[in-house]
């Protein structure tokens, strides 16, 4: 009998071996749970450098920090060789770990546009980010390898996508990762497509409506608790229930406020009620600086920066005085954007960085630009460590290299903010990831056959119910990725950029966001290329697809 089962046993063993072989040993917890980092140049916190010292990690915590410590006999020793140790970074707001929805967009099945179901309207404050997070999503690994140990994740969506969770970037399930669940309420000025609230004024009115609805709903629930006899029972409502902590001022509202105008609007909305407010993904502060200071508000700067004018385009050939003057103002504006962080530092307004619409891989190059425009390295480090820790209320457990805190540490071969620096190790709650040096790949990586053919300038024409809307689009290479810029003939002063670009075997897809009189609309484009022509469709939520076609005008000069 035993013999009969032998082949199965062998087979089982083979499978088990195979699955074990797939485990990334970098992320396996150390057997002893003790790591000793020997001879690192320790930046305890943004303002204190210990010099060369050692760090003992035990059970995911920092057990000891000091000079010439003796390693315990059972500790794994990491020779830092004077590498630089920093507290690992904290991402103050992003969608990290939440995959983009790949659901095909369909016309929302709504009977009355003015009264859509909450889900279609983008009003789901009861949902939690943690329930969308996939612990093995590539974005988590990528953020960790950029030096981060903790992230505040908010759900994707429209006006009120749900609640943010503070997570540790390690763990084998999304539940393992949670440091704080139901931590924040995420609010954006993003209207729903084709239904109420569609515009920014609709969204702002709806927020006021929901806020006061929740306020009185809570009041009724409370008084029913005290005296329920002879009183109509207040009905439970999951949307309003979720907003009650905001009305009680116990849950902060994190908002996406890209522009100065958004900042002013967010403040105006909050002013009369006074819930804790954090302004996130800020790209432009402009004239709002004084108001931020006056209101003592917290800012999360977007790591995304405006693109600089290419050097060769500068003056030399331009003789037109008025054009020169315009270019000068544009340059000044660019400088003002890049000087914002330094100005916040000078004004004493604490800030951190958020990654809603920028990539962690751009972090260092962009911070270097900010430093070039006057930001100190101390403030830069604070914006990545101590400030977000404080904003997220986790400064007792994270943000510095101190005894008792989570063992969230990075080791870099040179001071982090220097151009040539590279992160060698990231520790997240003591779990070590060694980051191997990546050899740069050759350009034009193989992401589908015939990609080279796409590069160049194309005309396009969309058939909008019998009317042709025309323009041109430029496809270029951006590292291994493609970059798509297009200009509509009806609006030649605005370049729009495609995002979420995919390319496979002649089929290019991307998404563009267009502004239709105060409301943002996403249009999905899918194009099939053949030679110097393409055909395809442009589709928008709630609309039928529109046929689109185009021809190549020019290829780049080689």
């Amino acid at each position: 009998m035993k013999i009969k089962f032998f082949p199965i046993a062998v087979f089982m063993l083979l499978i088990m071996n195979k699955s074990q072989a797939q485990i990334d040993y970098n992320n396996v917890p150390e057997v002893t749970q003790k790591i000793f980092i020997n001879d690192a140049n320790i930046q305890k916190n943004p303002s204190t450098n210990l010099g060369i010292g050692d760090i003992l990690i035990e059970d995911g915590l920092i057990k000891q920090v000091g000079v010439q410590l003796t390693p315990p006999i059972d500790a794994k020793i990491i020779e830092a060789d004077s590498a630089y140790a920093y507290a690992a970074f904290i991402d103050a707001m992003s969608h990290i770990g939440i995959p983009k929805s790949d659901e095909k967009r369909k016309r929302p099945d709504v009977k009355f546009k003015g009264f859509p179901p909450n889900k279609v309207a983008g009003i789901t404050p009861q949902l939690k980010a943690s329930s969308f997070i996939e612990h093995d999503d590539a974005s988590i690994k990528s953020l960790r390898e950029s030096g981060f140990a903790i992230a505040h994740v908010v759900p994707r969506g429209k006006m009120l996508p749900g609640q943010g969770s503070v997570i540790s970037l390690s763990g084998s399930s999304s539940q393992d990762m949670i440091i704080k669940d139901n931590y924040s309420m995420f609010l954006q000025f993003t209207g729903a497509s084709g239904v109420y609230p569609n515009t920014i004024i609709g969204v702002m009115a709806k927020w006021k409506d929901l806020y006061y609805k929740a306020h009185y709903h809570n009041k009724n629930l409370q008084s029913y608790k005290i005296n329920s006899s002879g009183i109509k029972r207040p009905k439970e409502d999951k949307v309003l229930n979720a907003l009650i902590p905001v009305t009680e001022k116990s849950m902060p509202v994190f908002m996406k406020t890209n522009k100065a105008k958004d900042i002013f609007r967010a403040i105006a909305l909050q002013e009369s009620t006074g819930y804790p407010l954090v302004l996130g993904d800020v790209k432009q502060i402009g004239g709002a600086e004084n108001k931020l200071k006056e209101k003592n508000l917290t800012v999360l700067l977007s790591v995304g920066l405006p693109k600089a004018e290419k050097e060769e385009k500068k003056d030399s050939t331009i003789t037109d005085e008025s054009k020169k003057a315009l270019m000068k103002r544009k340059k000044e504006s660019y400088t003002a954007y890049l000087s914002q962080a330094a100005q916040l530092e000078k004004a004493g307004i604490p800030f951190a960085f958020s990654f809603l619409s920028s990539k962690p891989k751009d972090l260092k190059t962009n911070i270097q630009k900010l430093i070039k425009h006057g930001l100190s390295t101390e403030a830069s480090l604070a914006a990545l460590t101590t400030n977000p820790a404080k904003i997220l209320g986790i400064d007792k457990i994270a943000g510095t290299i101190d005894k008792g805190k989570l063992a969230n540490i990075i080791l870099t071969d040179n001071p982090y903010f220097e151009k040539k620096s590279r992160i060698k190790y990231v520790f997240v709650e003591g779990q070590m990831t060694e980051i191997k040096e990546v050899k740069k790949k050759k350009k034009g990586g193989a992401r589908g056959k015939g990609k080279e053919n796409l590069i160049g300038k194309w005309t396009y024409s969309v058939d909008v119910f019998g009317t042709q809307q025309t323009g041109n689009l430029t496809i270029s290479e951006d590292g291994d990725d493609l970059k798509i810029e297009f200009i509509a003939d009806s609006n030649p002063d605005e370049i729009s950029e495609g995002r979420d670009i995919t390319y496979e075997d002649g089929n290019l897809t991307y998404v563009v966001t267009v502004d239709g009189g105060g409301q943002e609309m996403d249009i999905e484009i899918s194009l099939d290329f053949e030679g110097d022509q393409f055909t395809g469709t442009a589709s928008m939520e709630g609309m039928e697809s529109l046929p689109m076609e185009g021809n190549k005008i020019s290829s780049p000069e080689k």
């Binding site: 569609n198 702002m204 009115a205 005296n227 100065a260 105008k261 004239g287 000044e332 009189g517 105060g518």
Partner: protein, 449 residues
């Protein structure tokens, strides 16, 4: 006593810091003053102190520090007021429902809209930034002062100006909702019912909250910002400005308002107003019209350039508006047309763009004429403003020069996109529709023109 002083001081201090917008001092010498309410005054000076008109008389001696404008040979008039525009806001139409009383364009003011500066270049100091006409009951509007240069939208508001709301009759809401979504209103009959239903909602809501606040009901009624706004219209707290063309509908709405005890309304466009001018006057309704613009859709064919004159002569408080970022720059020309079409006097013609729109916005006690203690909003013209040769020289808001034709930079933008394409100026000059439907055509994914 000390305590009181302390409190008084702190109140004073806090309003200085946050409550009020910047004001200035300026002395305008030797101009021809077109006061609107107190006749014309030649070779007269006007002194503005702390943003208010302090003195109007001959030979005011300048104090050392004050900015002096020599207006010799020029015409000094109150800042022009546009009772209907859509500049300085980021959204015009929340076109998803026939009733969206709760939305408020004042939530989305845009201090960077260059059209504010261009309006100043046409002598306009105040405009009524309105919701569009896609809905029967659209959103609330905002009366803004053209304080070009401020970046805080709060500083754009004309503080304490009465609240107003946009209503719309006729083709626009029917097209958007009836034809677009197959719901009421799909006819002009349906329009009336939308108003009546909405007012019933507001009435019921107000009664419920009244009960609650008197302690007669234990549980708070469900809060509803839309119904709350509708109740505000019925209580007279919010004044209606209604997009309208046809006489029958104008009469219809006045009947509805009478039924609900609402006695204040300003009809906008009101192209067939000339047919019902006595009825408008009897009701006490105001009219804000175009000078000579019509036939851009079917319901706007029966029109006349004599509309403003006929309405005025029938005792209706009438203004001429722009509804356009281009027309707003020469409202003085628009007013002048009433002299060709209707023989209005200079003063009556200028009233159409100053004092009368001020009445319609409920701000005539503060602006609209050159009088002592009024706000220091002034437009200074080379040549008479009703002349075809008129050119605005200075536009002053609260005593601050916000437009100066000789000294302003060529590029007066405040917010410059660091990634903009140069040259950045491009604007279509075609203009053959009213702007009340801004945002809606895109909403329907149609061409705008």
């Amino acid at each position: 006593m000390l305590k009181i002083t302390k409190i008084a001081l702190s109140i004073l201090f806090s309003t200085c810091l946050f409550g009020q917008s910047e004001t200035g001092d300026v002395l305008i010498k030797n101009g021809t003053l077109l006061t609107i309410t107190q006749g014309d005054k030649e070779n007269t000076d006007i002194l503005i102190r702390n943003g208010k008109i302090a003195r109007i008389q001959k030979d005011i001696q300048p104090t050392n520090d004050i900015k002096v404008i020599d207006a010799t040979g020029m015409f000094v008039m109150p800042g022009i007021i546009d009772a209907h525009s859509h500049i300085g806001i980021d959204a015009v139409n929340e076109a998803t429902n026939p009733v969206t009383a709760e939305v408020w364009v004042g939530d989305a003011l845009d201090p960077y809209d260059i059209n504010i500066y261009r309006a100043l270049a046409g002598g306009v100091t105040i405009s009524h930034a309105m919701h569009g006409s896609a809905n029967a009951i659209g959103g609330q509007c905002e009366t803004i002062k053209h304080r070009w240069g401020v970046e805080d939208p709060e500083q754009m508001r004309m503080k304490d100006a009465p609240k107003t709301i946009k209503f719309a009759l006729g083709e626009n809401p029917i097209r958007v909702h009836g034809e677009g979504s197959r719901i009421v209103p799909n006819t002009r009959m349906g329009m009336e019912q939308v108003f009546r239903n909405a007012f019933e909602d507001g009435k019921k809501y107000a009664a419920e909250w009244d009960q609650y606040s008197k302690g007669l009901s234990k549980m708070a009624p469900e809060y509803n910002i839309r119904k709350e706004t509708l109740a505000g219209i019925l209580s007279g707290e919010i004044m209606i400005h209604c997009h309208s063309y046809r006489a029958d509908e104008i009469l219809m709405l006045m009947n509805v308002l009478e039924d609900y005890g609402v006695n204040k309304i300003c009809f906008q466009h009101v192209n067939e107003g000339f047919k019902v001018a006595p009825e408008l006057a009897k009701f006490g309704a105001y009219a804000s019209v175009f000078s000579d613009w019509w036939a851009y859709k079917f319901e706007v064919y029966y029109s006349t350039a004599y509309n403003a004159a006929i309405l005025s002569k029938n005792g209706v408080v009438t203004s001429i508006n722009s509804d356009s970022r281009e027309l707003i720059r020469h409202l003085f020309h628009e007013a002048a047309k009433t002299q060709k079409y209707g023989n209005l006097s200079d003063n009556d013609a200028l009233k159409l763009i100053t004092f009368n729109p001020a009445i319609q916005l409920g701000i005539d006690d503060r602006v609209g004429s050159l009088e002592k203690n009024k706000e220091g909003d002034v437009a200074i013209f080379k040549n008479h403003p009703l002349s075809i040769y008129a050119i605005p020289q200075y536009t002053i808001v609260d005593g601050i020069i916000r437009f100066d034709i000789n000294n302003d930079n060529a590029d007066m933008r405040i917010d410059i996109d660091p990634e903009e394409i140069i040259p950045s100026f491009f604007e279509s000059s075609t203009h053959n529709h009213d702007n009340c439907m801004e945002g809606v055509s895109e909403f329907l994914f149609e061409h705008k023109h």
